[in-house]
């Protein structure tokens, strides 16, 4: 199964199609606490990744993290560590793992898992306060994860 997704991704990417089949949250392949394989096969775009980190309606990572490279966006939080140098401290496979499921890397972390869909207590429908329904999905799309990872890799 793992191999098949991978080959399919390569094949589609080879044809120059922008949206290859993505790995679903339940099918993400872990290797020693990391995720070496791209979730989409499409290279992450650091500029889009910067938006994922800073936008309140996307990743809102700077709610908790300060990032010097995003200093033009107001209000960076102090709940998590400064992300400057993250691309030096971590490999791409490690960063992907931190974003997909922070708890696999930092047990009990307050950092949310951005590409996981199960195991929650009273999951809601976004920020409505109502129960989750069939529109429930991961906090970020597979490509947004790739974009954020690509941006983090530029932080050296």
């Amino acid at each position: 199964m793992k191999r098949r997704v991978f080959t399919l991704v390569l094949w589609v990417a080879g044809l120059g199609v922008a949206h290859a089949d993505t790995v679903a949250p339940g099918d993400v392949v872990w290797q020693d606490g990391t995720i070496p394989q791209s979730l989409t096969g499409v290279a992450g775009d650091p500029a889009e990744g910067a938006k994922v980190l800073s936008s309140k309606s996307i990743g809102n990572c700077i709610a908790c993290h300060e990032v010097t490279a995003l200093a033009d966006v107001p209000f960076h939080g102090e709940v998590g560590p400064l992300l400057d140098g993250a691309g030096d401290r971590w490999t791409e496979a490690e960063l992907r793992a931190i974003l997909v499921n922070s708890k696999e890397v930092f047990p009990d972390s307050v950092m949310p898992s951005f590409y996981r869909v199960d195991g929650f207590i009273r999951p809601g429908k976004a920020y409505t306060g109502k129960a989750a329904d069939d529109t429930f999905g991961p906090l970020l799309t597979a490509q947004q994860i790739e974009d954020a990872v690509a941006f983090l890799m530029t932080l050296d």
Binding site: E66, F75, H76, G77, V110, G124, G129
Partner: protein, 270 residues
Amino acid sequence: AALAAAPALADENAELIINGEIEIVTRTAAPAHLDGAFDEILSGWRFRSDETQSMEMDDFDNPGMIWVDAAREVWATPDGSEGKACADCHGAPEDMAGVRPVYPKWNETAGEVFTLQMMMNDCRVNRMGAEPWGTDKGQSIPMEALLASVSRGMPMDVAIDGPAAETWEMGRELYYTRFGQLELSCASCHEDNYGNMIRADHLSQGQTNGFPTYRLKNTKLNGVHSRFKGCVRDTRAETFNPGSPEFVALELYVASRGNGLSVEGPSVRN
């Protein structure tokens, strides 16, 4: 430290004295049941900007006092089939000093923990023959603000033992449960991260001694359960409703974390 453009933070050493006479304890030793989770407990007032802080120092500048004045009228106005007003049985609102600090409290007759709002409704329904007020709705909040205002300066002192213990335990359990898609508990923000910025918000210990609170954000008085609801919603969770057994238990538990802080309601927050 956060990057530039962070909101103005308060002077760490400011002290709260209301109307030049009511001394408010906004920092004191943590109650024993917190078992070292905090060295000291701090009112949410200490986490607000100088400007917001000063609005609470004088009743003329505190917008919450408008509702307190309105509630004085309700206090004296008969309602319900018995034709009685709160004042007929309880005298002046000032005679209720000391009530707010001990709520939520076990009610022997009902056999459950009562919030102040539930107690008020008990009087309305069973002693006045009047309609109950909704939780955090209608006259509940102004009346709660009136009862808080006459207890300002008195230390929060809710009982957590005896028949209230079971409810308190339930509240404690809820406090440490990581709800929602963001998997955050009350403790994630208000115990592990108080004093830190979360985006533009300066996290406090999430104490309830200041309720009801006038919030600059929605320009009205807010109840404790409504605040809980907002905080749970912000974890991308299905919330509990104001008045639910879960929020009653949580109110008791969170109030007990603030035992020793002065009643400040109606307080001013952002």
